[in-house]
């Protein structure tokens, strides 16, 4: 059989093209060219120089939001880029939550890794500029005037001297017949009207009046989904345990229950609303196999990690100079062990998804960060070709990485297929907490060497943990393979891909291997240890834990060297001007070295997702209770598209990071998660929230990430402040004083 008939050659290279998408970590790029052709977006007569934008003859400017909105503000900031080039107030642009489309895949249609603005800054401006040029060309033709005499303003093209003007919509059809310019001129930055301004969030009204439609709201509020049922799933108490049987006799007697069926993830109770389904689920008696993790708990995982550190040599992630020799010659060696727990995402909107198989298609309404991943797994669950699955993204009540994993969508499609009607599967908070894909738990051992002048000569960081990508690839990459790859091959390749990636997943060492400090001998290595707990991307991924470890230990080394923590950093970051600038700005704004009475300061700087952030925390410790009063944050994220949204992301990241630093962890107990709801997995609350100040440096560079970079420095800044206050070095999260 020749490869011609199969489509593009199936090579490992095309399947396992790796690229830095999700948070600097490796993610597998999949060649989707074998997919069926994409449905057109928009209608005939629309001016649509690229898939993101349609200007319709009835004068609507429509933006296809291919990145999903989960609170990070792309619903406002991305249309701003198009509006700027059209000289059109972004508030006038209609936003549609986009379908799956090849143009939106780079190479996967995913929202994550703080990449939306960085990746779309040029393409969206070019799209807007192309539409502008085509509108101008159409108007110039219509009025037989030179294009240079025309201008765009308020959604119309004007010719001042003749008084002619035409709305975009009036020109759309003629403009659509113009050729699409390849390299339209972009507006010079000096003429920006909206980029760089705090354009008000376009979702602020609907989200303040109860009108925003989240995934869990699909089918309510007048939407017509005939016979929509609600399902809840009784899930295994332990990871990997399999359903051996169940008794639903009592459950079926609850009024409103439609059916109780076995599905891949457990026992689905289908009812005419959440409450009867939930009540009936409580009456289902399910029998489970022990599963592979029976008897395993967090203490055993930690002990195994320590054993691995004792006994194994890791994969080298960095090796500068010769650390072993530095250690031999050192005047002094300091060492420390840092332990990081599993964490849940705990999005406020629990996982949910609505699916309906009808007329040979499968409609899926889903709050997701990865609509094409959903499409792929939904096709498998629906037993339909991928081009018969229509994914309708909804707003979502938080993502933070959790909603990049499509397990809940595959489940809903399976339930709907078996139920033979539209079904919304809604997870309880307990389901959500206990069947998450957690931030990995890691154990870290660090050594630093000092010479007899107290100068730091060497740094060693050895860490042990699982590989996120290596774990996820076998489960979900397989589903993303081009449809012309036979199913069995898909699975085999998925697993092989997992093995390949596991060996070199940089997400576990990101933020550790790229230690920026000028130290001659640096060794960073990671040991793979996978206890089998489901893990996934958690806001800022490896950086979220490695920044805590690295920036806390830098503080330890500074104190060991008798240096001020700020001065110590500045002296060793001379080659990193962005680090220096944020350190200096934050220090100035926080009045470093002069905290308010009764408070202590801690500082941390970290680069992630292309941005550099310094945070200075001001804390007090009272009766063993850590209280964070004020956080000063200085960020270099290049050009700031929307200052208020960046500020909001810094505030949010700091609060999210403080929950990890001060409040929560999940623990494994006999192969399942102990915590279940907010009483035992508490989040930071308003009365614990500090005053947060955000400052920007260096707006000349192209824009880089903001959704995640604010998070990594907060935990070490707080831990370092606690050390300054108490002399106690806290090396586990959440931070607890002795």
């Amino acid at each position: 059989m020749s490869t011609d008939k199969l489509g593009p050659a199936l090579t490992r290279r095309s399947l396992l093209k790796t690229s830095a998408v999700a948070g600097g970590g490796l993610i597998v790029g999949v060649n989707l060219s074998g997919c069926a052709s994409a449905p057109p977006i928009g209608a005939d007569g629309d001016l649509s120089p690229d898939a993101w934008l349609q200007i319709t003859p009835d004068d609507r400017v429509i933006f296809q939001l291919d990145k999903t909105e989960m609170g990070q503000g792309v619903i406002t900031s991305l249309p701003t880029l198009v509006g700027e080039e059209l000289n059109l107030d972004p508030a006038r642009i209609h936003v549609h939550l986009a379908p799956v489309h090849p143009r939106f895949q780079d190479p996967i249609q995913i929202t994550g890794g703080s990449t939306s603005i960085a990746n779309r800054y040029q393409p969206l401006r070019q799209t807007g500029a192309a539409a502008r040029d085509m509108l101008l060309a159409a108007a110039a033709e219509r009025w037989s005037v030179p294009r240079a005499e025309l201008e765009l303003e308020d959604g119309a093209v004007h010719h001042r001297s003749s008084g002619n003007s035409a709305r975009f919509g009036e020109l759309a059809e003629a403009a659509a017949r113009q050729s699409v310019p390849k390299h339209p001129a972009l507006k010079p930055a000096s003429e920006f009207r909206w980029i760089g301004q705090s354009v008000p969030r376009t979702d602020r009204v609907t989200k303040s009046t109860g009108g925003a439609v989240f995934g869990i709201d699909v089918g309510l509020n007048g939407q017509e989904l005939p016979n929509l049922a609600t399902a809840v799933v009784v899930r295994s108490p332990r990871f990997g345990a399999e359903l051996e049987g169940f008794d639903a006799g009592e459950a079926r007697r609850i009024p409103g229950v439609i059916d109780v069926i076995a599905v891949s993830t457990g026992v689905a109770v289908i009812a005419d609303g959440y409450w009867p389904a939930r009540q009936a689920a409580g009456k289902v008696v399910a029998r489970w196999s022990d599963g592979p993790l029976k008897g395993l708990d967090s203490a055993a995982i930690e002990a195994a990690q320590r054993r691995a550190l004792d006994e194994q040599k890791g994969r080298s992630a960095r090796n500068d100079g010769n650390f072993a020799r530095a250690a031999e010659r050192a005047h002094r060696v300091i060492d420390a062990e840092y332990v990081i727990p599993h964490l849940a995402h705990a999005t406020m909107e629990p996982m949910n998804c609505t699916a309906w198989l009808h007329d040979g298609v499968c409609d899926v309404w889903v709050p997701t960060q990865g609509p094409d991943i959903v499409q792929a797994v939904a096709a498998e669950a629906a037993k339909l070709p991928r081009d018969r699955v229509r994914v309708h993204s909804t707003l979502m009540g938080g993502g933070f990485g959790r909603r990049g994993i499509p397990d809940y969508a595959a489940e809903a499609v399976e339930v709907a297929r078996l139920a033979g009607r539209p079904v919304k599967v809604v997870w309880s908070r307990e389901d959500d907490m206990r069947h998450d894909f957690y931030r990995p738990a890691t154990c870290n051992r660090l050594r630093a060497t000092l010479d007899d002048n107290g100068a730091v000569t060497g740094w060693e960081h050895r860490l042990v943990g699982p590989s996120i990508i290596g774990t996820l690839v076998p489960d979900f990459l397989g589903a993303l393979m081009p449809t012309w790859v036979p199913g069995g091959v898909t699975n085999v390749l998925g697993r092989a891909g997992g093995a390949v990636i596991r060996g070199r997943d940089s997400s576990s060492t990101e933020g550790a291997a790229d230690l920026p400090y000028a130290i001659d001998h640096v060794r960073v290595e990671s040991i793979l240890h996978d206890p089998g707990v489901p893990i996934g991307f958690w806001r800022s991924v490896g950086h979220s834990q490695n920044a805590f470890v690295v920036e806390s230990f830098v503080d330890e080394v500074a104190h060991a060297a008798g240096a001020d923590p700020l001065t110590f950093r500045l002296e060793r970051l001379a080659a990193h001007p962005r680090h220096l600038a944020t350190l200096q700005l934050a220090a100035e704004k926080a009045n470093w070295g002069h905290p308010d009475d009764g408070r202590s300061q801690g500082i941390a700087v970290h680069e992630s997702f292309g941005s550099v952030v310094t945070e200075i925390a001001e804390v007090s410790v009272d009766n063993g209770r850590i209280r964070v009063h004020r956080v000063v944050c200085a960020i270099d994220c290049g050009l700031v598209i929307n200052p208020d949204i960046v500020r909001a992301q810094m505030e949010g990241s700091i609060v999210f990071g403080l929950t990890a630093a001060l409040k929560s962890k999940v623990t494994l107990e006999d192969g399942g998660i102990r915590q279940s709801n907010f009483h035992d997995y508490d989040l930071l609350r308003m009365d614990e929230t500090p005053v947060i100040e955000v400052y920007f440096v260096n707006q000349d560079a192209p824009p880089s990430g903001v959704g995640e970079p604010g998070l990594p420095p907060i935990a070490p800044a707080v831990a370092n402040a606690v050390f300054a206050a108490t002399g106690q070095r806290l090396r586990t999260m959440p931070l607890r004083l002795a």
């Binding site: 303040s208 709201d217 509020n221 989904l225 929230t689």
Partner: protein
């Protein structure tokens, strides 16, 4: 059959009397603004008003609503003009408080109940009234500022957001028959 007033309209509901009000409002009456977060009264996403008092609708049964007055986010302010919304909603809009927005209905209902009772709350009173409402996105600094601003509006201030074109916004989740 339980009768009560919801957002100014008399309603009769034929659902089991132990059904939490949250599911009566959402699944029974089709009002989606009140959110499900925890099901145990722990997060505040489902906060509504019962006779003007903030309650956790996921933990209060339908029976408790008999003959009483319920208000949800949909009925809090008249609208559609921004200036006709509740001062708390105006302040939330002015301050672009929401990130994902999922918890904000509950936050606004908690804030509205506070300033309806006390239009000049201290920071401690604001913290006390709002600290039972969780926000994973971390909008607390903006919530705190918005509650102060809402109190100001309540005392006679005027919103700076004058108008908003509801036709130019996010398309409703589409494609039911796409």
């Amino acid at each position: 059959m339980v009768e009560f007033e919801l957002n100014g309209v008399a309603r009769r509901v034929d659902m089991p009397a132990d059904t939490p009000l949250l599911w009566v409002i959402r699944d029974g009456l089709g009002l989606p603004g009140t959110k499900f977060g925890c099901g145990m009264g722990l997060c505040g996403a489902c906060t509504i008003h019962l006779d003007g008092q903030p309650i956790r609708s996921c933990a209060i049964p339908l029976a408790a609503a008999a003959g009483r007055r319920l208000t949800t986010i949909e009925g809090l302010g008249a609208g559609p003009a921004i200036s006709d919304l509740h001062p708390a909603q105006q302040a939330w809009i002015e301050g672009s408080v929401a990130h994902c927005g999922y918890c904000e209905s509950g936050q606004i209902m908690a804030a509205a109940a506070l300033i309806d009772a006390n239009d000049d709350p201290s920071d401690a009173e604001i913290d006390s009234a709002l600290s039972g409402n969780l926000c994973r996105c971390g909008t607390y600094p903006r919530i705190r500022a918005a509650v102060r601003r809402a109190a100001e509006l309540k005392r006679g201030g005027e919103t700076v957001v004058q108008s908003f074109d509801p036709n130019v916004a996010i398309a409703p989740v589409g494609g039911l028959r796409a």
